[in-house]
């Protein structure tokens, strides 16, 4: 069973630890986590649990044990992409935002299933009458415990994922409901044991014990949580500081050294400084997880334009100013437009770079994406280019037209060239 091969992955994964899955779970995420760990389909694991449940409720005990001891984590099955703490999607306006989970539909289904299975189980199981009577209170207790634990999981999860603020009352109601269920179950057991007569005094005694414990341990607990949160804060600060220090150390100091070395080469110094400035800006002003990794492909227009401009700037040492208005996800057509735009930027940097910065402007308006690339160089004339020079004709004009867009090149009266690229977005409006 544990020999089952994990789903083949592109990149080697770190040794897997057993976690309970926080995504797509029904109850505690135990089955999902196990399935992920063992590389089995979730449904198998779930079936096994159900089967075990039939065996004198062993499954339930096992499940509860797992739930109690295995930490909540991320991942589980469906690990096509490396597990990320937060699922995000790109909304039509191109902003990435976190996706709050849908209300726990799965949980409802799961609970219903449990009830059905419990019924069947109760019908099948041959307990003596006495033991049988205890069954319902036990189920009640189980359900109550599940509710409260589940709530605790949610609270943990909410720390990782900014779930759209659930109403606090719901949280409270759930917890209270769980407690009530457990109380009812326990009371039921008492009643069945025939100590109903003593129920009142037992409850009183229990209450007294609880109050005592609260009084004794309460301050200590409060202080402990305060200490913990303070410690956590300190740790986060330290981490942040370390990250800043590492970044400054790695890239900024490095660049400054290079600048000193190349002091007599003005162009190189300018290029180094620009690249570093861009890098630092991205790092300082960009929200977490957007384009911080050079590795991930740009998914939105603004990202793609900036990325292309940065690369061309680095390669040709001509500053490129980028202004983007609006944003949209990339589709095939827009990707082609980006390639054409890049080509235009390269041309502008190569032939018009001595006139100063190249200005790139991209705008999304409804379904139309417009990009203009403008330089202040000597300007050029399309007709005077030899026919064997395919750069502009093919990679800009041809590419745009093949994809159903238009490209216009024009000389600006006061010097320089402007390339205007226009493209309709693909039909699919996400």
């Amino acid at each position: 069973m544990s020999e089952a091969a994990a789903a083949p992955l592109a990149e080697p994964r770190p040794p897997r630890k057993l976690y309970r899955s926080s995504d797509g779970r029904w109850l505690g995420g135990v089955a999902r986590g196990l399935a992920g760990h063992l590389g089995l389909p979730v449904i198998w694991v779930r079936l096994v649990f159900v089967g075990l449940f039939m065996a004198d409720g062993l499954g339930a005990l096992l499940y509860a044990a797992f739930w109690f001891f295995v930490p909540l984590g991320v991942g589980g099955v469906e690990a096509q992409k490396p597990p990320s703490l937060v699922s995000s999607e790109t909304s039509p306006d191109g902003r990435r935002r976190l996706v709050a989970r849908r209300p726990d539909k799965g949980q409802m289904v799961a609970l219903l299933l449990m009830v059905v299975v419990a019924m069947v189980f109760v019908g099948n199981v041959n307990l003596s009458g006495a033991a049988r009577a205890y069954l319902w209170p036990t189920v009640l207790v189980g359900a109550g415990v599940a509710l409260v634990w589940r709530q605790a999981d949610n609270a943990r999860r909410a720390r990782w994922v900014e779930v759209g603020r659930r109403r606090r009352t719901v949280t409270l109601l759930r917890s209270v409901g769980g407690v009530l269920l457990v109380t009812a179950g326990v009371s039921g057991i008492f009643v069945l044991q025939g100590s109903a007569a003593h129920l009142g005094s037992v409850l009183q005694a229990a209450l007294a014990v609880l109050v005592g414990i609260t009084l004794l341990a309460g301050p200590y607990l409060v202080r402990m949580t305060q200490d913990l949160s303070e410690e956590r804060l300190m740790r986060i600060r330290a981490q942040e500081r370390a990250e800043v220090a590492a970044h400054v150390h790695d890239s900024v100091l490095h660049t400054l050294t290079l600048i000193q070395r190349n002091a007599e080469n003005a162009n190189e110094v300018r290029r180094l400084a620009r690249a570093q400035e861009r890098d630092l800006r991205t790092w300082l002003y960009k929200p977490e997880g957007t384009g911080k990794d050079e590795a991930d492909e740009p998914t939105t227009l603004a990202d793609a334009v900036r990325r292309n401009a940065a690369e061309v700037e680095d390669k040709h040492g001509v500053p490129i100013e980028v202004v983007v208005v609006g944003d949209c996800p990339l589709d095939e057509r827009i990707a082609a437009q980006m390639q054409a735009a890049r080509e235009a930027m390269v041309n502008a940097a190569k032939y018009g770079g001595e006139g100063g910065a190249v200005q790139v402007y991209a705008e999304v308006e409804g379904k139309t994406v417009f990009v203009s690339v403008r330089d202040r160089g000597p300007g050029f004339d399309l007709d005077s280019i030899p026919a064997d020079r395919m750069g502009v004709r093919e990679s800009i004009i041809g590419r745009m037209e093949r994809n159903g867009g238009t490209a216009r090149l024009r000389a600006v009266p006061d010097g320089g060239t402007e390339v205007e690229l226009e493209m309709e977005r693909a039909e699919k409006t996400s």
Binding site: Y285, V323, V325, G355, E363, R374, R376, D381, L382, P413
Partner: protein, 246 residues
């Protein structure tokens, strides 16, 4: 596709910041105060534009924080203040707030041009809503800065391409009905002008492109600036309050 001749390819007057080549011109003078907490930067600007004989700019005072700035500006009554956005003591916005009476002065108003290394939307929109007449980044060349200063002295607005981009973004068509029809919408013409600024055109080039006079371009930009300062569009307020700038 016109054929550019040698005559009009005037490379060299490269202007990334948009203002037309009005320049100081002979005999024009403008009194300026520099407000920036980086001494090195103040020295650099002073060296670049403070040669009064050549540029016509006379730096009459400097300040490194908000209190100093208010004191110096009140004492010297300059025509234009170059104001850094990030300042100890409350930032450029605080200076603008405390100098509001000087800005509104009918006789000799003090006008502000914001300078910053940052180009975050909330900084830019914040100082403009605070009353600055323009916004340029510190990478601007000396010549362009002098032009911008004179432009502000005349009461015009100075929009960098990036600022134009932000404004277009902020006034993008939304489904939300405008609260104030006059302030919450840009006219088609204003939008065209802004677009060209964002594309790196100088005012003169915009005038040519749209077949209007430079004066008309300036009045469109000033109208946009007014809307920017007075409109209560959600995006603008959001940007401006993002860092408690307003």
């Amino acid at each position: 596709m016109s054929d550019p001749t040698e005559a009009n390819s005037t490379a060299g007057s490269a202007e990334a910041a948009g203002p037309a080549e009005s320049g100081g011109g002979p005999g024009r003078r403008v009194r300026v105060v520099l407000v920036d907490d980086h001494r090195m930067f103040r020295t650099g600007v002073q060296a670049e534009i403070g040669q009064t004989e050549q540029t016509g700019v006379e730096v009459v005072g400097e300040a490194a924080d908000v209190d100093q700035a208010v004191t110096v500006i009140t004492a010297t009554r300059p025509e234009v203040v170059l104001l850094d956005v990030h300042l100890p003591g409350g930032g450029g916005v605080e200076v603008l707030r405390r100098c509001a009476p000087l800005m509104a002065d009918a006789e000799q108003p003090v006008r502000f041009l914001a300078l910053s290394v940052s180009d975050a939307a909330e900084d830019v929109i914040g100082v403009i809503r605070g009353g600055a007449r323009g916004y340029v980044t510190k990478t601007i060349t000396g010549t362009d800065l002098v032009d911008s200063v004179f432009r502000v002295q005349e009461g015009d607005a100075v929009f960098s391409p990036r600022l134009a981009g932000f404004v277009l973004d902020a006034f993008a068509s939304t489904d939300a009905p405008p609260v104030d029809e006059d302030l919450d919408r840009l006219t088609q013409r204003e939008r065209e002008v802004l677009r060209l600024i964002a594309r790196g055109y100088a005012y003169k080039e915009i005038a040519k492109q749209l077949f209007i006079s430079v004066k008309t371009v300036e009045s469109h930009v000033s109208a946009v600036l007014r809307k920017l300062q007075l409109s209560n569009r959600h995006e603008l307020t959001r940007w401006a309050t993002a860092r408690r700038l307003v």
